[in-house]
Symmetry: D2
Subunit: 482 residues, 4 copies
């Protein structure tokens, strides 16, 4: 595909009274659908009794009205949508995971990726544990369960589990009587909560999901913080806060999150506008028109236009039916596929010097075709500007690029890439300016993870980089066909 | 829904050699998906043998790789996607219609709506004909078949059928050896053709479908023209040309067509930009920001911004997973549904005087909720501008509004509507300027249909306005549930 | 398959009050499922409004509780299950056919096969008619509709249509206010009616369907008779009775009908027992045990046992999950498939001289494998007895054998067939005794059709024997895959 | 339903070369379908790599040709079909279970039910184990895995696991290089193996599955035996043999197994014939005809007829489409449902004194309706004979009756039951004769489990009799709707 993919969105609700929490979770997941289109699930807690449903498919396909109805009412629910970077795709690895243990029930939804799951899994297996999935979320559920046998409360079990698990994790955990939100000490992935007028608490990966269910944003969960929602109100455990400098994934701003979300104090749309403005400053060019590659290049294009004074124009259109589910029957070349997905308005482009803004270049092939489309529409010049630094290293924190081989910027200079993609010029955002996208000043002390740009990993790197160490192929109805 | 819907898109290919015409039709229909999401179909002609498949669903769902493969190769194909304004929804009325007659085979795809189908159907039934569907496309297939018994060729049968059928029709008809494109004498619906490098001819409702299959636009089919594609080349029958003034549906520019299509000499995006510019001129206002309601208000918003000098901003975002297939499980109020579908970027809106541009107001309820969203995001003022004249009369030419009762502009003044939708001011495009959207000067002699605005119907009006006169409920698997 | 297949079962109900007629039709069709497993349908008449559903699949799969509920209540219903001998398989040809005509509505279900449908269809097409299916039922619906334009009532239209259509047809026709049962003048296919305690009339292909819905058998519809059920009671039109000698298909007794049905005065089980007794008389043999090939050889085996004094034993078992829907994934040879479907109880067979009874031999291959199974189980001798005469000619009246090439008895003597199938001896039922299966004496004047045995066709033979003359391949979702 | 249900069938193949083991498993499971219709699964071992698929549904529905193809080739496979007595129904509990552990892979299929799974599960959970299903098969997989960490081989792990698990279990376990068959020390459930001409070993619950895949029966697995199939041949571990007297479930002969299977030295059909003969001796009656309730009463009816001299007749027929999947849309009373499922041939019954043979009476309601059907068909007298002793106690070894409340024989005398079911007389098989069904003499030392008749449980009884102690409702696509 040549596209980056985030792995997950998480959602939770704690309501004061029994109500339609399944519907709330449905709408919340729908707003988080961009974070994971492979599978989704909801578990409802009705006075300690858990009713759940999960399957591969989009939220809207998996949760028919009948299925939502069947989930019934309750006062809590946890939801999850997943792309899946660790573990084979398919139903097996769908979340939330429900643990039904003699010490009590627990449902768990996870966004992120551990860097020590290999070691933890081996340790657990040698004690006799059996794993049914290949996701590291199951590792977390084991660790929390082990701690639960020693700790007086579920939140203390989570607190002690945090000493053992390492990496990126934003978790929502539901016990029979509590809803718990937990963000890893570095805060790789976003997590926030809000309140609804009826007194319900809502936890979500992004604030856009709060808005979608009519809740008001209260604040981000702090890196390292555990927030516990019970009928007695909200309580915070901060034992793991301030352990490390924050390292939110900067691609949340550039690509993953929805433009209307506010993450760690910064509106994503504003961050993208800022990227465009920085680009205009770093890589100015004489041109007639600024065009964004839809959807994620649009905001930066407007930012570039404002900063440079070159008019913004709608010159490319994305076929809105293509979703991420478009099946190309395989008879057409890749060039054709780009033509199906993107189209140009030639009256806007013809004879013009075009600044074309996109969010990233992975392998370069998609970018080459996009530039080709603009040239075919009659552009006199095409100046490519990328609203992110060049992507050179694998990510171990929940995105799906794990090999340097595929990354064009790893083998080629900017000039070479410009030639490969057929652009008259090419400019990337500098790492320094990337560190300023959230609106905070940057003096060299990073507040975001820049590992994929400069290899500066905030954690140790996984011992086994082979992602599918624990893979076996056990498919069920509905699993992805190969 | 409160939204207008177009009924159909048609597509045809005539290739010089046996090739993957089914795949071409698939990609073509995919590009025309916005014209009809209810059902779709493709019929392939392999040396006179027809292989077809049609079903309810989006192009991408109906045509799995296996199904496309099963259609096989051929040198011609006809495709259709449908929303369906006449006749009950569902599989029965899916197109293309295949007629398998002693005088030969024929596949037929139709966009439009007849105004005399009631009389024609009664006449045919009294001669012993039996109808299996409730669509007027079946009426056309009967009339063409009757004429076929008297005429020496399929194209002459179509030519004589045009004397009997009245209303809006853009047809693609495939016989064992010919592909025929035909547009009604007033040209209500668009139809054009192009050529591909391998010598294939492509016919499509909109030029965007030519681009999607790698074909070059040649020209629009003229109102009243029959164009015949055979192995001997292209031939035109113009007996019904210039009978009437042209009356292309102006909503093709405003709402139905894709912005990158060029219809009757005018790029749709340009027409919408022009609508925005006219609006800025007709209804100026002091404001801080211009925002378009996505997707169809965006182009006009940019036009308004350019003409007025008020900055354009991306202040509203549409959830791209909502498609037209979003199932709301029915527990949430309509207000909630708008919140799921559209979201605002409050940093763009807060404290601003907003010009909000949309393409139409039907019942007013959706518009009221959109204005409410903008106010909730902190707008100081909201000035609504509509890129079309007020919609006051039913359409008989292929859109789905058939009752004056539902049209808010039919009962209320502009001021009343502004109050109902909660806007500080409201401005519609004038009918005069609507007649100029295509870029041609307007001196009172209309070149577009304005019936829905002013009741000036280019044809006689149907005797029976009850759309479902011939309805009976015979459902099959996959039909819409009520 | 090497098996004969019947084409259809028909069912109708006329109730005095609005009630759950859809459920009654469902249970009735379920009891008639053996007559057709390819597709089924029900149309309910609720005070003149028709609600129908039909699809490919077994009755139990097509009619989910939701679908039956959706059909609603009414005072009439027509149902159909189909195997399909004329016309391609699939949804297109599912019945009942609903005709929605300016002169009124009609739903039509048909069992049988016309011998002049080719001529009738050509005649109708040359008048401008268009056919949507390839079944001759659509021909009947056109002829009845044509007559309806000239006749004062639907029953008179049917009466006049009977002058024009020729062949085998048992029809159930529903108009807004009447239910009509009609059987061709030779009575090829069975049709009977009964009454339920609430005063409802039930029409069905076989009496087993009356029992299944709690109705009491009244009588068979006479060959050539039209019976009209209205709110005024039952009325009979006998214009076409006694035109020809009766010629019920004798295979209804031997194979098609259910053993508990009573057809034209004779219980099917009794007819089969009689076949066994005749076989014992015609082809006696010294043996230790009589075994029937399940299911249809069982009754005759018991009859043979009683007449011969040789003990009957359960020596073969059919896998009851195999239905007629067993999908063999194609990796195993045909021998394996027989082994999956049938198994032997070797303690019953080992060392024994076995009389093995089956209902027919078509191509001989299945029979050879069955004999092989019995030998593998240790039988000392295998004496094959067939409860029907040798099958030598195509059938034009609604069974699926249309070529002499496939019929083993057409090319081989009895001795040769015995050798081919590996039996120590082989005996067929004589045609004379076949004519006595219904329990009536036989003096040379046949009361049953014997055409497939002796070529003595009761009607003229079709001009075009090519069944798929009007075929084109237009598939839809759910159609049979090839 | 009022019917007993067995829980499972297991199947395994070890082939000398890579071949179509998935197809073999498919055909084997198809032959074992009567042992479990709820879900099924196959896991293929291709040189240590496991490929599996499992889902709810019949074998023929779950394993489409595409799915079998996708499983690929291998030299081993394990298959399972399940009814499910412990644990909620549905996909979660489908088998085989695959364990993917640092010490190696394992696939496990289980027929039976443990009596100490509650204690084992609690013990495991308190050590930190997490259970994903509610079936006791998962408990077995944990115990075997724990032992695996201490033992040098998988077979020794199984051997030691047998010291800890108690109850009924016939297991097939597949490791990367071995296939292991294991039967509990009392031999509650059957298990046997055979060889195929190509040298493959086949393990199956019943010998009918060996025949279905073309294998020759070698012998039953002994109670307590572990048989290991490797490329070095067959090896047996007998540490747990002869610990206890054998206690095969006698209902395997009476109802569960297929008549053509041979279990522990006795053909099931013969056992049933013997039951009929014992009944004729224990409960003689003057009558005209013996009729079996299909399917499972037929064999005993023939046995009764032979022993008593009263003629056997086919007087009842079962609708072969009803399968176990018949959905009654709920509008009809239970009486109607029996009429749909069973029908009578009145010419056989009318005016006769009937001996009616069935395999069991559970709640009495079904039996009453069956007797009613025979009376409605005109029987003068109905003498019910049951080919088993009265069923009075719950079963803990893998059948689905767990409450004494529902068992009619627990509250009523034989005379009362006769009156309740409307029979002129009623006779059960004596427990003594039940102990003779396998053909071995009986002197008071039981060789079969008789617990459900006399409460003489061969094991300790489970502490928690509440079956669903570990239940939580987490459904997935395809799970049973409630």
């Amino acid at each position: 595909m040549g596209q980056l993919r985030e792995e997950c969105g998480v959602f939770g609700i704690f309501a004061p009274e029994r109500c339609d929490v399944a519907y709330t979770a449905y709408y919340g997941l729908f707003a988080l659908q961009h974070r994971g289109q492979e599978s989704c699930g909801i578990v409802v807690n009705d006075d300690g009794l858990f009713h759940g449903y999960k399957d591969v498919g989009l939220v809207n396909d998996v949760f028919t009205p009948e299925r939502l109805q069947a989930l019934g009412k309750g006062n809590m629910a946890v939801g999850h949508c997943r792309y899946g970077t660790t573990g084979s795709n398919g139903r097996e690895n769908a979340q939330p995971i429900v643990v039904n243990h003699v010490k009590g029930r627990m449902a768990l939804a996870h966004n992120g990726n551990l860097v020590n799951s290999f070691e933890l899994r081996e340790e657990l297996e040698l004690k006799g544990s059996i794993f049914h999935t290949t996701s590291d979320t199951e590792v977390i559920s084991y660790i929390v369960t082990e701690e639960r046998l020693r700790q007086p409360s579920i939140e203390q079990a989570v607190n002690h589990a945090m000493d053992r698990i390492d990496g990126a994790y934003s978790l929502v955990i539901m016990s029979p009587s509590k809803l718990i939100a937990c963000r890893d000490p570095r805060g790789f992935r976003p997590l926030c909560y809000g309140t609804r007028e009826d007194g319900a608490y809502i936890v979500a990966s992004e604030s856009c999901a709060l808005a979608a269910v009519g809740a008001t944003f209260v604040r981000d969960i702090r890196p390292g913080e555990i927030v516990v929602f019970t009928s007695d109100g909200v309580r915070s455990i901060e034992d793991h806060c301030d352990q490390f400098p924050p390292s939110l994934c900067v691609f949340e701003y550039i690509y993953f999150a929805r433009p209307d979300s506010v993450i760690d104090g910064c509106c994503v749309h504003e961050a993208r506008m800022r990227a465009g403005a920085f680009l205009a400053e770093e890589h100015p060019v004489e041109a007639d028109v600024v065009i964004g590659v839809p959807d994620s290049g649009t905001d930066a294009a407007i930012g570039y236009s404002k900063a440079s004074g070159i008019p913004y124009e709608m010159g490319m259109i994305k076929n809105k039916y293509i979703g991420r589910t478009f099946i190309s029957p395989g008879q057409k070349s890749r060039e054709d596929k780009v033509r199906i997905k993107l189209s140009t308005i030639s009256s806007v482009i013809k004879g013009k010097r075009v600044v074309l803004i996109d969010d990233s270049i992975v392998r370069g092939t998609t970018c080459a075709r996009t530039v080709g489309l603009v040239r075919d529409a009659g552009a006199k010049e095409v100046h490519m500007r990328i609203a992110a630094p060049a992507f050179k290293n694998p990510c171990y924190y929940g995105t799906d690029i794990d090999s340097r081989r595929m990354l064009i910027a790893n083998h080629h200079t900017v000039e070479e890439i410009a030639r490969i993609i057929g652009a008259d010029s090419l400019g990337y955002l500098s790492i320094e300016n990337a560190m300023r996208l959230g609106g905070k000043p940057f003096d060299g002390a990073k507040q975001y993870c820049s590992a994929c740009f400069d290899g500066d990993y905030p954690t140790k790197v996984p011992v086994s980089k082979q992602k599918n160490r624990f893979e076996y192929k056990i498919s069920r109805k509905g699993s992805k066909k190969k």
